[in-house]
Point group: C2
Chain length 368, copies 2
DNA sequence: CTGAAAGCGCTTACAG
DNA sequence: CTGAAAGCGCTTACAG
């Protein structure tokens, strides 16, 4: 069966048996209309169940029946180009492998679905350059709104200013920076939770604290290190007893970072370690196990985010919780305010609290 | 400034200052062409860098400059309706909260990107009904190809048979069933790995084995329980020493299931527990900790999937590895074979091996 | 190079 | 109810 002609003659639909499944055309609205013997606009009215539809019950039934028989499904792309909306909202997340963002995606998807929208996810891979590409890409897709978890929002201030004027509703979740954004912003008061953590450590006799931090690709500095040092100094920690160790965003990387931290401080090891997120905390927990340190007897470990895994680890991981529920709730609320035109005000900002959740991985410093 | 007319007069673009950002129209190709003083087809040729483009260097420069000045970005939707491809492939996953699927998504996205395609993710939430909706929804989106991680592929055999004839390339990853699918299939030989695990347990003196299993919403049976019982019987385990405990797909649920399992077998507790995935394994690990069982001294624990978390847990989790790399590699290969029309053959099937990865959570049964 | 047109698949307004 | 048309924003073939 040498079938060299690639295209089938227009209007001449050939059967599966003739050409194999790949060459059968998907039925269009006109195909349904023809099959039912009605005009295409009639078919459109019937299939969309328009209130002012003129079709008789008989016509109606015939159209629906033919649509079903042919397996007709409206072409959403064509529909979108006509309506100029795609009923889709776009989400940008830095890391698919971080459960924190996936919990967020999970909740956002549920909320979007409840309003009749699909969610599509873009992945910036903890890379500032990619993050920019994601922003472009998601805008090119003509989504109806964007929720962007950005690694470093201020970096994109100029880009957003020049693009957002075309009116796509957007809310950013991430740290505030010096440069204001032209879109709604949700920030978490990381300082608050970190302050709780550090003062807990101080109170329970810890004096030397390690901080495992990570920068994204193409990122020069994210300010977290300074925040950590400032708060710690204010609480009376001695600067020379504060150890900052760079890592990447993986658990394995954090484990390595932990080992470097321990090795480089043989004489006066940290009595507590804070990871910039829970994956780092998990890496530290395992790193401690590897070198025979018992948590929390010999070392306290604290993570950030409070992912659902934390209470199930051994020992369970103390963490500075980010309020995922609130973040997703406000993100959806603020976004749909814009989408539905309820708000015309300028950029809004919502600051949410972080909170230290104490679990088994923390305790008094040794000898207390 | 009461601006009651919603639409602006066609062609009359109003400034930001006049209406606020939300009313400014996104520039179209014709806007760029007009601004540059060329025909739209010329602008199209220039912007798409067509080889047989007739534009002079000067024209070319003018078009590019105006495009940049206006911030022109092609409308992908309009483009897609014209080209009848969206340069997008769709992925269906059962659970965003399971790192296994996210690792898969991560790799698939990378591979798709390398070929110039975006990946969009649909989430079936471990629910058979939703899974069906995802299939419909993703086909409605006119993606160029679909990779579907299905909870229970055979259930969808009829649906797929009636829809796939419109030619959308698709590969399914999941368990094989009695009813053949009309699309390419990648399966993992779960029996192989489970056999390795059970014979390891047998060899190391275990006699009573618990199995924490879960069904999806709307799923009657997934066959895994039978597989487990069959293999175990064949290896000489006594049927009355095989305990099957139902759970859900969360870690917390698995922990509860573990507790039920232990409580109901007070007299002769299991010496080993196998979870149907690593999240269940983690739940069991924590459940054991809760009741003072030491792993692996008092109890061996085995998971399934071998997510990247396994080696970082305390104790690290023995797991029946699914070959994520191979799955994603074959999925992409098979899919693009179809997309690029390299293959016209009927449905193909690829079976990949699973393998037991021994770690700290398993050891000889107590008293050996 | 231009200009007008067709077409992707849909919806909607309009004259009969 | 029909039929023809316009339009969403693009690409492409065609006559000048």
């Amino acid at each position: 069966m040498d079938n060299s002609g690639k295209k089938s003659a227009p209007g001449m639909k050939r059967s599966v048996a003739e050409n194999g499944p790949m060459d059968v055309k998907r039925p269009r609205l006109v195909d349904v209309a023809k099959a039912a013997g009605v005009a295409t606009n009639t078919a459109s009215m019937v299939l969309n169940d328009r209130p002012n539809c003129w079709a008789s019950e008989a016509t109606r039934a015939r159209v629906l029946e033919e649509a079903k028989r042919l397996g007709y499904r409206p072409n959403r792309i064509a529909l979108a180009v006509k309506k100029r909306r795609f009923d889709t909202i776009g989400l940008i997340v830095p890391d698919l492998n971080n459960p924190f963002f996936m919990s967020l995606a999970d909740q956002l998807e549920l909320a979007a679905e409840a309003r009749g929208y699909d969610l599509i996810i873009e992945h910036s891979r903890v890379d500032l350059l990619r993050e920019m590409k994601c922003l472009e890409s998601i805008m090119d897709r003509q989504v109806d709104g964007i929720i962007a978890c950005l690694i470093d929002p201020p970096v994109h201030a100029d880009f957003l200013k020049s693009h957002i004027k075309y009116g796509i509703p957007m809310v950013v979740a991430g740290q505030r920076g010096a440069r204001p954004l032209p879109v709604d912003l949700i920030t978490v008061d990381f300082e608050g939770g970190l302050g709780q953590a550090l003062s807990y450590l101080r109170r329970t006799g810890h004096s030397r604290v390690g901080f495992i931090r990570a920068l994204a690709e193409n990122q020069a500095d994210n300010g977290r290190q300074e925040i950590f040092l400032n708060i710690a100094r204010n609480l009376g920690f001695d600067e020379k007893d504060l150890y900052v160790e760079p890592s990447d965003h993986t658990m394995a990387g954090a484990k390595e970072a932990f080992h470097r931290l321990i090795d480089s401080r043989k004489g006066n090891p940290p009595t507590a370690v804070i990871g910039l997120n829970d994956l780092c905390g998990i890496g530290a927990l395992r790193g401690a196990h590897d070198v025979g340190l018992q948590v929390p007897r010999d070392l306290s470990v604290i993570g950030v985010d409070d992912i659902s895994l934390c209470p199930l680890l051994n020992p369970s991981l103390t963490s500075i919780a980010q309020p995922i529920d609130e973040i997703s709730q406000y993100a959806v609320e603020m976004l749909f305010d814009r989408i539905e035109g309820k708000t015309k005000e300028g950029p809004r900002e919502k600051v949410l609290a972080s909170q230290l959740i104490l679990r088994e991985s923390t305790g008094p410093a040794r000898g207390r």
